[in-house]
């Protein structure tokens, strides 16, 4: 019996005509939707869409859209980081966004993407976790970041990343008082989440199709790609790498993708800040 994490995802197929069409475009340096190989779809962020969440954002990458929401609670710190708050990233894979998903707990794709987004954020030190302490060694803020794909038209992992980024940038931390029975959250007194804006990570995903590398693949492109390569940088450092998929990767393609990301990152950073902090 195959492991449940493998068998809970429906395989999808493209017709030969669809495949040929993608291939013939790409071999000519163009893509089915008119983009250049290294052209990203339009990124749009709609923050604060869920009033009951402490932070929330819809991110759209072309037709792909993802909703992220953040709820905050108070709990004991992890033993090895007694003076830091904590956060958890989770991605549900309900069959809303894609017919390849099933009801049930997150499948291996949801788990992988949530962990990649987590590493992009965590490695960058974007969140000032040291500011998320209520009472040192006793109570810290815990942020639950939950991601719901809405429409999977390709590159969910980047849409999930930007939805998370948008939610973090607009998150309000409620005041907490320590009462007789433990911490009490005062939802009406809030302040913005402390962030190291200058360390804000930027993540992009590249896909290998034929012998070409394309940026921000569509759903159909993902189905014919050899691998996807998700990269995140913060300042001049690479903070996350994930090769995903069964193709083989050339070192030069990896290095070229990092350079491409580096070049684009400031523009994207400005776009994200403009669309969230205004």
């Amino acid at each position: 019996m195959a492991s449940e994490f493998l068998s809970s995802i429906h395989r999808e197929f493209l017709s030969n005509i669809e495949k040929e069409s993608i291939f013939s475009h790409i071999s000519r340096g163009k893509r089915l939707d008119g983009r250049d190989l290294l052209e990203m779809r339009k990124l749009e962020l709609i923050p604060n869409c869920i009033e009951k969440a402490e932070g929330s954002c819809i991110a759209k990458l072309g037709k792909t859209s993802v909703l992220a929401g953040i709820k905050i609670s108070v709990g004991p710190p992890y033993p090895d980081t007694p003076n830091q708050g904590a956060f958890v990233v989770n991605m549900e894979t309900m069959p809303i966004a894609s017919p390849s998903f099933e009801l049930g707990p997150p499948n291996e794709i949801g788990i992988e993407y949530a962990r990649v987004v987590d590493r992009s954020i965590r490695s960058s030190n974007f969140i000032k976790l040291e500011d998320l302490v209520v009472e040192p060694e006793k109570y810290v803020y815990v942020m639950f970041i939950d991601i719901y794909p809405i429409n999977d038209h390709g590159n969910l992992v980047d849409a999930a990343f930007y939805a998370t980024l948008g939610a973090l940038l607009t998150t309000r931390i409620p005041k907490v008082e320590i009462g007789d029975k433990g911490p009490v959250i005062l939802k009406n007194e809030t302040k913005p989440l402390s962030l190291n804006i200058e360390l804000m990570p930027i993540q992009l995903t590249y896909a290998k199709i034929l012998d070409k590398i394309v940026l921000d693949p569509t759903h159909q492109e993902e189905l014919v790609s050899g691998y996807k390569l998700t990269l995140a940088i913060s300042k001049n450092d690479l903070v996350a790498t994930q090769k995903s998929g069964a193709g083989v990767l050339d070192i030069d393609d990896f290095l070229a993708a990092v350079r491409d990301l580096k070049e684009r990152s400031n523009l994207i950073k400005d776009l994200v800040l403009k669309q969230t902090l205004g």
């Binding site: 009951k52 709820k71 309900m94 707990p105 759903h219």
Partner: protein
């Protein structure tokens, strides 16, 4: 939105002929409908009533999996109602609660009479309702959204299904209950096939005087008729715009 007031204050406002959120007794919250927003699904609808926001997606008719649940005479309808973890005041666990299981069932049974399931023997039609934000009326919003998503998916329907929750608050009948009313008063969610005047969902709890039931139902029907018009308008606009864009 999460305003807390005392029962006394709540009653006083009602006595003044108004509701806590300023609405008249039979006034609906603002409704916003968007169709076809999930491209990779046969049908989809975002339905907002006040702060309540539900996204509904329809898939199918498709092959019935597992095969042993197939019905040789009609399509099987499967409905899953789920809430986002951040849709509620306290974070909801992503594991389906017993409430979510029950609501999946009653929403399914509210929709079933409207669908010509007999046209798709051995097939399956799947409806997924995801509550993005819960501020009372999530099951009724889910039904309204799901029926529109079914229509957009081109599934043959006898009629739309339209739903609203009526409240009975200290002697007053209010329509489209809000969170505080839901907590303090009796809540009666109703769904109908409006053109046929037939009820497809009916639930209640709290205390309802038997001699007011008839009035409660007729109040509900008036609200349902209003929502029905909005649903039809949204469908018409969707078809017009999709014809225009050639989508």
């Amino acid at each position: 939105m999460s305003l807390k007031i005392s029962e006394e204050e709540f009653k006083k406002i009602l006595e003044s002929g108004k509701r806590v959120d300023g609405r008249a007794f039979t006034e609906l919250r603002p409704i916003n409908i968007r169709l076809g927003i999930v491209e990779r699904a046969e049908g989809s609808c975002l339905f907002e009533m006040g702060h309540t926001k539900v996204l509904c997606v329809v898939r199918g008719p498709t092959e019935c999996v597992p095969a042993y649940i197939a019905d040789p005479e009609r399509a099987v309808l499967d409905v899953a109602y789920r809430m986002c973890t951040f849709s509620t005041e306290e974070r909801k666990s992503p594991t389906p609660s017993r409430r979510e299981v029950e609501l999946s069932k009653v929403i399914r049974e509210a929709l079933e009479p409207s669908i010509l399931l007999e046209e798709f023997p051995r097939m399956m039609i799947k409806v997924y309702c995801l509550v993005l934000q819960a501020d009372a009326g999530t099951r009724t919003a889910s039904i309204n959204a799901a029926s529109l998503a079914l229509a957009q998916a081109g599934i043959p329907l006898r009629d739309l299904v339209t739903s609203v929750a009526v409240g009975y608050c200290y002697g007053n009948i209010v329509v489209d209950v809000c969170s505080i009313e839901d907590e303090l008063c009796a809540d009666i969610p109703i769904a109908m096939l409006p053109a046929y005047r037939k009820i497809t969902l009916l639930q209640s709890d709290h205390r309802l005087p038997i001699d007011r039931l008839s009035e409660i139902l007729s109040t509900a029907i008036k609200a349902i008729d209003q929502i029905y018009e909005l649903q039809k308008k949204a469908l018409k606009e969707y078809y017009l715009s999709s014809t225009k864009t050639g989508d």
